[in-house]
């Protein structure tokens, strides 16, 4: 093994990969949420459909999409490798253990929370991404905006969120995501060695606020369409 593979196959190195990809995925959440806000414009989905068309055809976005997939792949792959390693590090557990006395629930259940998010991600892609991009899973309706034909992703959103089961899945998944981020956001900075009394208290507070606000922003969308539209 050369120094590069040695670095990123050590437990400390793999965590660096987890941290970098995790923070990158956080930045994706921000972009995704800002885009979603177009759903709230009272224009029958015109702005949202134009926006989703832009996201589907812009070269820079398409390139970043590949990076995004790689971000998920590395984050999930290293999580699996590390989880197996961590399980093997304690083959026999305790009969009586009180971890709640020394650590937060979310910090101990990142794998469980991540699995909920992964299942959600698959459902979410199947709902919207697969029909929009690949015309699979029923495809999308068409809509005319100023004599040009666009995919009507907006109507797919409205339709999906009439289903109470989907609404429940989305809201529960966003709660899982919030807990995942409450630990993950500040943990990522620690993993990168970015810890100092000057800015660590800010990162910790910002991380909690970020986690709650972003996930609340996402969770409001299915609730809005279910109850108000």
């Amino acid at each position: 093994m050369n120094w590069f593979t040695k670095t990123f196959s050590s437990t400390v190195g793999r965590k660096i990969v987890m941290a970098v990809t995790g923070l990158f995925l956080c930045s994706f959440l921000v972009v995704h949420l800002i885009g979603n806000l177009q759903l709230f414009r009272n224009d029958g989905g015109e702005a949202f459909n134009l926006y989703s068309d832009f996201m589907a055809h812009n070269g820079v976005i398409r390139f970043m999409e590949i990076i995004l997939v790689l971000g998920f792949v590395f984050h999930i792959y290293d999580a699996l490798v590390l989880t197996r390693l961590n399980k093997a590090a304690r083959p026999i557990g305790y009969v009586n253990s009180h971890p709640e006395e020394n650590s937060s629930w979310s910090s101990r259940n990142m794998g469980l929370l991540g699995t909920v998010i992964l299942v959600f991600l698959i459902i979410h892609l199947w709902n919207f991404f697969v029909p929009a991009r690949f015309e699979a899973n029923g495809g999308l309706e068409r809509v005319m905006i100023e004599d040009v034909e666009y995919h009507n992703l907006y109507s797919a959103v409205v339709l999906a969120f009439q289903n109470p089961i989907y609404v429940a899945i989305y809201v529960i998944s966003m709660i899982a995501l919030a807990y995942h981020l409450i630990h993950g956001f500040q943990s990522a900075f620690q993993t990168l060695g970015l810890d100092h009394k000057k800015y660590t208290p800010f990162i910790q507070k910002f991380g909690v606020a970020f986690s709650i606000l972003v996930c609340l922003g996402f969770a409001i969308i299915p609730l809005y369409f279910f109850f108000l539209v």
Binding site: I16, A89, S103, M110, D195
Partner: protein, 260 residues
């Protein structure tokens, strides 16, 4: 200070203790009643009382690690009621007193659990993995000569204090026992950062962190997921800041060291 209290009522307790014949045997929890325990006894003295009782009955006494019984050697261990070194913070098992328990309590006592700390017998685990990590780089090998005059080597007080705080690690392994991943990061980081902060440690600064982390992985400790359980349970209060420093040292070493 809580001194000896002649009026303290002796306690009767039920102990559930992990018994295991040797490395290759399967173990199990065994229940023992103990009677007339003074609240002024240390936890280990309570174990002594139980062992004397077992010896009188011709049974095998419970094996557990201990040495100085002053909280400075790092030999005692024990996972007591679901916590390393018991329920009190900043306390080794030898300094844990029975006044923190109540008459009639049931107390579970288990060994440290980690693949890298195999159980020798009963509550005794083999912590030589820590020694091998130390041997991989937890030292200064340059000849430092005679004792220098005081303050001849300039070290700011804030750095000296932090290095000393890291140096107080007694290597007991409570961090590993507390961590859900059985990670040794708090121990390794205390050793790495202690020497990385001092001028004497600069010569081997890069190889030290590279070799100690590599040895930590070889020994089969888990990865650190920043739960903070280690620092919360550490009897001498080693801070999580050391782990962050280890990461900085690791990244710096990997980016700049000579080893390919």
């Amino acid at each position: 200070m809580a001194g000896s209290n002649p009026n303290a009522k002796p306690m009767d307790l039920t102990l559930k203790v992990w018994r295991q014949k040797d490395r290759n045997s399967a173990g199990q929890m065994v229940t023992y009643p103990v009677k007339g325990i003074s609240p002024d006894m240390s936890f280990l003295e309570m174990m002594d009382v139980l062992n004397e009782d077992l010896l009188r009955k011709g049974e095998d006494p419970i094996a557990f690690d201990h040495d100085c019984r002053e909280g400075i050697c790092g030999m005692c261990s024990l996972y007591i009621n679901g916590r390393p070194h018991g329920p009190e913070r900043g306390t080794t098992t030898c300094q844990l007193h029975m006044r923190h328990f109540k008459d009639g309590d049931t107390i579970t006592i288990e060994p440290w659990r980690a693949a890298a700390f195999p159980v020798h017998k009963d509550l005794v685990v083999d912590r030589s993995a820590f020694d091998r990590i130390q041997q991989a780089g937890g030292y200064v090998s340059v000849n430092t000569g005679g004792v220098p005059d005081a303050n001849a080597i300039p070290i700011p007080k804030s750095i000296a204090d932090k290095a000393f705080d890291a140096a107080t690690c007694i290597g007991c392994g409570a961090c590993v026992a507390a961590c859900k991943n059985a990670s040794a990061m708090l121990f390794v980081s205390a050793k790495v950062s202690q020497l990385a902060m001092l001028p004497q440690g600069q010569t081997e600064r890069k190889t030290r962190v590279e070799n100690m982390v590599a040895q930590m992985d070889i020994e089969g400790f888990g990865s650190c997921t920043n739960t903070g359980a280690c620092a919360a349970e550490c009897p001498v209060g080693i801070s999580l800041e050391n782990i962050d420093m280890l990461r900085r040292e690791f990244i710096y070493a990997k980016a700049t060291s000579e080893s390919l």
